[in-house]
Amino acid sequence: MATIVFCEDEASIRKLILTSLRASNHEILMAENGAEGLALIEERRPDVVFTDIAMPVMDGYELWSRIQAHPELRQTPVAVITASVQRDQVEHLKTLGLVHYLAKPFTMSGLREKVREMVEIAALHSTSATQ
């Protein structure tokens, strides 16, 4: 079981994510923007973070740089869920170090697969950290 934070400003998509992951045994935490997400991440220290890019108050880029600047959070694997999937946008994400992403629209199986993959990465991180 892993703790996962999702930052997503669209209520219907938050609901969709909760619905499709409710069968999993992960703890799913929801934030409506980057600022809420950061507070949640600092408080709950999740194993994985999924974030949208275009959000009010604090966007996904800002959230990512805050996580990177935080010595205790920077190892947390972060995946982007975005509707901005044009090649230059994806390239831009990669140059920032955001190499994991899930494009909107996504399928339920696609979402579950991505979650599984990110949890595995988190497990590898924590294994190497404890060794």
């Binding site: 619905t19 009010p56 494009a103 339920m108």
Partner: protein, 547 residues
């Protein structure tokens, strides 16, 4: 310098050491001096007058020989018609022998001379005694003779010959000067550069003829006037400064590009160069040369204009490419979000065992997202139709205040962080407009005011009746708009590109639609804004046509 002929007194003509009259070099030199058939001139007349007096001879001539005649540039004491004709045929010429022999000719009494006694000059002009010395060029070519004539027999002394030699030399010197001047004039007049002499008082003392051809102006337009007289007002201070610099820095060369006004009123460009010769007594002025560079300047300007146009076209293209990319990226984003809900919830309904209540809920999500997609498509098509004029408005009498109240009421509950305030002019009349479109405009602006003030605050919607117009303003305390974006936000699919603005959802279609609607109502829409303080959108609609 003129060569002095040897003073060899002889009573007869010496055998030829000079040149034949038709010698081409000699004739060419003669013509180069351009003196044949020119009127008498005081400088030469003074010489013959003086020679006659000094030598106490009644006649003195400056005689120039071509191959057919002798021409007198000056004659003193000569009888008519020769004096007026300024010439005689060779049959009446002693001087020709000075040319052909290249030596002075000294005759005491021509009537006694075996060769000269048949010369018609004796009978027709009254030549008895003759003494002539050659006019010789620097190259040793004999042009003619300076001679003294007496109607009585006379013994010419060595001193007489020396005096004549001096006069020959003086006459020749004068001819040389004339040649020099003629050449300079020819060069000068062929130069299209304007030359001005400018005194230390900055007034023009002299200007060359070039002004008449280059500027079609008279010399009087310049001389005695300030140096800036026909200079473009914008160039005058530069020109005065140039002169000041040239005057303080001795002998410095300075240059500048200025415009002179042509006689036809056009401005022409000149490259001005200035040399300080104030300290040279013979000039005592700034020598200013002005060369017409209008063609070069126009060519340069042409290149610049072409370059600017190219750059502008490029930047327009870039702008439209960028707007296009923005549009695609925004539209793609905006389509994908509702599409995610539609696809995801339908997938859930299809694949999972759900309660009826949940199915209902998810179906609602699908429906709302589909509606959102539909709106997006409609907005795009709407804007397209309006931009291409394929839209008809339903003009009915509309109460603007009522429209505002309706919208504010419906949007009040959208955000808890915003306070919507109305400030409505009770004298606002009804006027003709498309009510649904007006609702679209006000809704767009109020929604924008809320969306672009993520920190909350007041949104004040005001109506003011102005002379012939209904003026609506929507004021927020939000992000504000950078100055460079105040116009472009009304362009299709252009959004403000700061991080804060990008985090606000939007298609970039709202304001273009708003502008289209207002335009089609004959009104104006604009925005005033301070970044970080807030924005005020203005809409002005004509009410003159109200019923």
């Amino acid at each position: 310098m003129t060569q002095q002929a040897p003073c060899d007194v002889s009573s007869t003509i010496q055998p030829g050491q000079g040149q034949r009259l038709d010698d081409p070099d000699r004739l060419a030199a003669l013509y180069r001096f351009a003196v044949l058939d020119t009127p008498a001139e005081e400088v030469f007349d003074r010489l013959t007058r003086l020679a006659s007096r000094v030598l106490k001879a009644p006649v003195a001539l400056i005689s120039l020989l071509d191959h057919r005649r002798q021409f007198f540039k000056s004659s003193h004491g000569l009888g008519e018609p020769w004096a007026s004709l300024q010439a005689t045929p060779l049959s009446h010429s002693f001087c020709q022998y000075v040319v052909t022999s290249g030596r002075p000719l000294v005759v005491e009494d021509a009537r006694q001379d075996p060769l000269l006694r048949i010369n018609f000059a004796i009978e027709d002009i009254g030549v008895v005694a003759y003494a002539g010395t050659p006019l010789i060029t620097d190259e040793g070519l004999y042009l003619g003779s300076f001679c003294a004539i007496d109607s009585e027999p006379r013994t010419w002394t060595d001193e007489d010959l020396e005096v004549l030699n001096e006069f020959s030399a003086l006459a020749m010197k004068e001819l040389d000067l004339r040649l020099q001047e003629a050449r300079e004039r020819a060069i000068y007049s062929s130069i299209s550069d304007i030359v001005l002499l400018v005194g230390s008082d900055l007034n023009i003392q002299f200007v060359n003829q070039a002004v008449t051809s280059v500027l079609r102006r008279s010399i009087d337009d310049f001389v005695g006037h300030p140096a800036t007289v026909v200079v473009h007002p914008d160039d005058r201070s530069n020109m005065t400064e140039l002169f000041a610099i040239a005057m303080t820095a001795r002998m410095s060369d300075a240059s500048l590009e200025v415009r002179f006004q042509h006689g036809n009123g056009d401005w022409r460009w000149f490259d001005l160069s200035c040399t300080n010769r104030i300290h040279e007594p013979s000039i005592a002025a700034l020598v200013v040369t002005a060369r017409d560079i209008t063609e070069r300047k126009e060519a340069e300007q042409g290149v610049l204009t072409a370059l600017e146009q190219q750059l502008m076209a490029n930047s327009e293209l870039e702008h439209s490419n960028r707007a296009q990319r923005d549009f695609i990226s925004v539209v793609s984003h905006e389509f994908r979000t509702p599409l995610t809900s539609i696809q995801g919830f339908s997938e859930v309904i299809r694949d999972e065992e759900l309660e009826a209540e949940e199915i209902q809920d998810f179906a609602n999500e699908i429906y709302r997202s589909a509606e959102r997609l539909g709106r997006l498509i409609n907005d795009m098509l709407d804007l397209d139709r309006m931009q291409f004029g394929n839209v008809t408005f339903l003009q009915k009498s509309v109460q603007l205040n009522g429209v505002v109240q309706e919208i504010v009421r419906s949007l009040e509950r959208v955000s808890a962080d915003h306070i919507l305030v109305m400030n409505l002019d009770p004298t606002m009349p009804e006027f003709m407009a498309d009510r649904d479109r007006l609702i679209q405009v006000v809704t767009n602006l109020v929604r924008n005011a809320i969306n672009y003030s993520p920190g909350g605050g007041q949104v004040i919607v005001s109506t003011i009746r102005e002379n012939g117009y209904a003026h609506l303003t929507v004021q927020d305390e939000g992000l504000g708009i950078p100055e460079e974006a105040l116009e472009t936000i009304f362009d299709r699919f252009t959004r403000v590109r700061t991080k804060e603005h990008k985090s606000v959802k939007g298609t970039g279609l709202g304001l273009p639609i708003t502008r289209q609607i207002v335009d089609l109502h004959g009104g104006d829409v604009w925005v005033e804004s301070t970044l970080g303080v807030g924005s005020t959108f203005h809409v002005r609609l004509p009410i003159a046509s109200s019923a």
